[in-house]
């Protein structure tokens, strides 16, 4: 259970509150206008921002003192998800062992993760030699290897075209199914929220609202969401 308990986040004059919890394995889209604080929410869960008040808990344990790498979390950023000076295989290996002392078994697991994400044979390449879609796949392959119970996606596919984005969302669902991960995905696009399936949290005016089933929400959006969607 991921619990955002009377959480308040601040950055300068900006404030965001959230007070809700979701079950393991849920799929949550986080939508809302830019600057509303969607990324801020993910950054706090990932451990890059200390809450000013309230707590973030995973299975009753407060995460406040847990450093980002030790949290039950894998995060995909908007960009720079791979180190450009390391090979794709090494980038994946970091998900298993940060010191990259990889056993034969580790290597085999990396190979399988590459195959699962459609990157078979691309292990020795550098990220610069990958297309945008392939780079996203590599980041998801690492998420697969890390198999953390929470997968945070901060618009990592924003730069991809519609068809590729649909592919990536399908892959996200596969990865989440396989690792039984709770997914929180920031997006601008209600279509992405639909494609993810599950629930949607609308972030607006300093509040991250409790997630509601996406179908229900989009069928009868509250006024602020209507404004955002442009259905007036």
């Amino acid at each position: 259970m991921l619990e955002l308990d009377r959480l308040t986040l601040s950055q300068g004059n900006f404030r965001l509150t959230a007070d809700w919890s979701v079950a393991p394995g849920s799929r949550i889209a986080v939508i809302g206008p830019s600057g509303a604080g969607k990324s801020t929410l993910l950054a706090a869960i990932a451990g890059f921002l200390t809450p000013t008040a309230g707590a973030i808990r995973w299975n009753q344990a407060d995460l406040a003192r847990v450093p980002p790498g030790k949290r039950p979390v894998t995060i995909l950023f908007q960009d720079q998800n791979l180190f450009p000076h390391l090979t794709v295989a090494q980038n994946l290996g970091l998900g298993l062992r940060p010191d990259l002392r990889l056993s034969l078994d580790d290597q085999r697991r990396i190979g399988r993760a590459l195959e699962r994400t459609g990157l078979a044979g691309l292990g020795p390449r550098r990220p610069a030699q990958l297309s945008g879609g392939q780079a996203s796949r590599a980041a998801l392959a690492r998420a697969l290897l890390r198999a953390r119970p929470i997968l945070l996606l901060d618009e990592p596919f924003a730069a991809l075209g519609p068809a590729l984005r649909a592919d990536m969302l399908a892959l996200v669902r596969e990865v989440a199914d396989e690792t039984k991960a709770l997914v929180l995905m920031v997006t601008h696009d209600p279509e992405d929220a639909r494609a993810l399936g599950g629930m949607t949290s609308f972030v607006d005016a300093g509040v991250a609202h409790p997630p509601v089933a996406t179908q229900t929400l989009l069928a009868a959006p509250p006024p602020a969401l209507q404004n955002y969607l442009g259905r007036n």
């Binding site: 450093p67 998800n81 010191d99």
Partner: protein, 504 residues
């Protein structure tokens, strides 16, 4: 960890300064010392003024003309920063000295000869050493004027004088004070040049007076008093320069497609003249060293090779430690600004090699014979004096690294040794190599603290070159200089190329 480092570093700078203050307090300085202060200021102001003013036409010519070899010229302008001052002095003596090319020519024509000793010799040498730095800094100013401005000026039909008034003069007003201050600071604390070309009642600087007080009179109190004055003066100028100067990228070669207008007519000839004169002034002394030194290579004085070995050792140890230290401090202050680290990495600018040397001399001399610790002290002083430069080179890179990959690394628990091995070293290999090369070459060529401490068996190569030059053994000095310059540039090249290769 980094806090400990910066405290240790601060202590290493402050201890010698405290020793200087303690030993020099209440020192009443004589008229000779007053003259030294005046001469120090006079030569530094003149050197800074001439270097800056003469650099303007050269920088402008480089900014607006294109000719084959322009890139090479700009790159070579970066080289004198690494050129040991003793070699520059020797080269100037070989051209302008008693039996140099110029005087030989003048004598053959029956004209009176010129002398390179005293005030004008010191100023000429300082201009030789600093003109290229000034040119590069001013050229950078020219290149910082957006090409669109020059396009606009052309579309408005500005003539060259109007372009100067509306575009170039404002840029120069912004850039020149910084250039002059940096060179002023360098010349205030210059030692090797004055040691050879200065001296006597009329041409002694504070640095030289410190050296004489320690080496000849063994008057540590007086040396300390002088060092205290030096710290106050150079500290004030350093503070001023640090706040005025924009970073002087002596690292990368710069070339932009868009250039200012290149007017024809007499201005074209003037640009050509400025470039030719600068090229001759800067290259002839070095050519003279090469020509006079090559034959001497076969008959080197005995002291040269052991001194060369000591210098390489000092340079390598200094460079390794200084680079590691600068990296540690830069990484620590990359995430958020850390005043303590900033202070530790900036404070050494206020000290000179002789000042730190005097302080350390005062500290160690009751405990061990100074000669015994000559090389470790030299390493320490080299590290302290090079650190501000390396820190400034590495800091922006470390910041960019933290911004670009800090969160990703944290989210993957990439910390400690793994982070260094898999993220920091590969990503920062280029600036680290460049910085280590810079530190090695500067340490290799520096003549400062070692002159206070060394006996014959601790002499480094620059000291040997200086002694040979002082004894007017020009051939032998030139041969030793060739070895010194080759080693300096080889060390720089090896580190820089190594870094670039590792970073590829």
């Amino acid at each position: 960890m980094s806090r400990v480092l910066s405290v240790v570093l601060l202590a290493l700078v402050l201890a010698p300064l405290a020793a200087v203050a303690w030993r020099g307090a209440g020192m009443s300085l004589g008229p000779a010392d007053g003259a030294a202060v005046r001469f120090t200021l006079l030569q530094a102001v003149l050197s800074a003024a001439f270097s800056t003013v003469l650099a303007i036409p050269v920088a402008r010519a480089l900014a607006r003309r294109s000719f084959p070899g322009r890139g090479v010229v700009i790159t070579l302008m970066g080289a004198p920063f690494l050129l040991p001052a003793v070699v520059a002095v020797l080269g100037l003596l070989a051209v302008f000295g008693r039996s140099g090319w110029v005087n030989t020519g003048l004598a053959a024509l029956g004209l009176p000869t010129v002398s390179l000793y005293g005030l004008h010799g010191v100023v000429v040498a300082h201009v030789f050493l600093n003109l290229p730095l000034a040119v590069r800094m001013i050229l950078q100013g020219w290149q910082s004027v957006p090409a669109e401005r020059f396009r606009l000026a052309r579309s408005l039909g500005f003539n060259p004088r109007e372009t100067f008034r509306h575009l170039e003069a404002p840029m120069l007003r912004e850039v020149l004070p910084g250039v002059a201050l940096v060179i002023l600071l360098i010349c205030l604390t210059s030692f090797a040049v004055v040691l050879t070309l200065g001296g006597g009642p009329g041409a002694t600087t504070i640095e030289l007076a410190i050296w004489q007080a320690v080496r000849f009179d063994f008057d540590l109190a007086r040396a300390a008093g002088l060092a205290g004055i030096q710290v106050v003066i150079s500290g004030a100028v350093a503070l001023l320069a640090w706040s005025v100067v924009r970073p002087a990228g002596f690292g990368t070669g710069q070339d932009r497609a868009a250039r200012p207008d290149a007017p024809d007519g007499w201005r074209r000839a003037a640009d050509g003249l400025a470039l030719t004169a600068a090229a001759l002034f800067l290259s002839l002394p070095l050519a003279a060293v090469a020509l006079r030194g090559l034959p001497g290579l076969l008959d080197l004085p005995e002291a040269v090779l052991p001194a060369a070995a000591r210098s390489v050792l000092v340079a390598l140890v200094s460079a390794a430690l200084c680079t590691a230290l600068a990296l540690g401090l830069a990484l620590a202050s990359a995430a958020r600004s850390r005043p303590l680290i900033e202070a530790a990495a900036t404070l050494p600018l206020a000290a000179s090699g002789l000042v730190l040397g005097t302080g350390l001399f005062v500290i160690v001399h009751p405990v061990v014979p100074p000669m015994r610790v000559a090389l470790p002290v030299t390493v320490l002083v080299n590290i302290l004096l090079t650190l501000p430069f390396l820190y400034r080179i590495l800091l922006p890179e470390a910041r960019a690294l933290a911004e670009g990959y800090g969160r990703l690394a944290e989210s993957l628990s990439l910390t400690g040794w793994s982070r260094l091995r898999w993220l920091v070293l590969p990503r920062l290999a280029r600036p680290l190599g460049f910085g280590a090369g810079l530190a090695a070459a500067l340490s290799m060529g520096d003549l400062g603290a070692i002159a206070l401490f060394a006996g014959e068996r601790q002499a480094t190569l620059p000291l040997v070159v200086q002694q040979l030059t002082g004894a007017y053994r020009i051939e032998a000095a030139a041969a030793a200089s060739l070895i010194l310059v080759t080693l300096s540039f080889a060390l720089f090249w090896a580190c820089d190329a190594g870094g670039r290769r590792a970073g590829a």
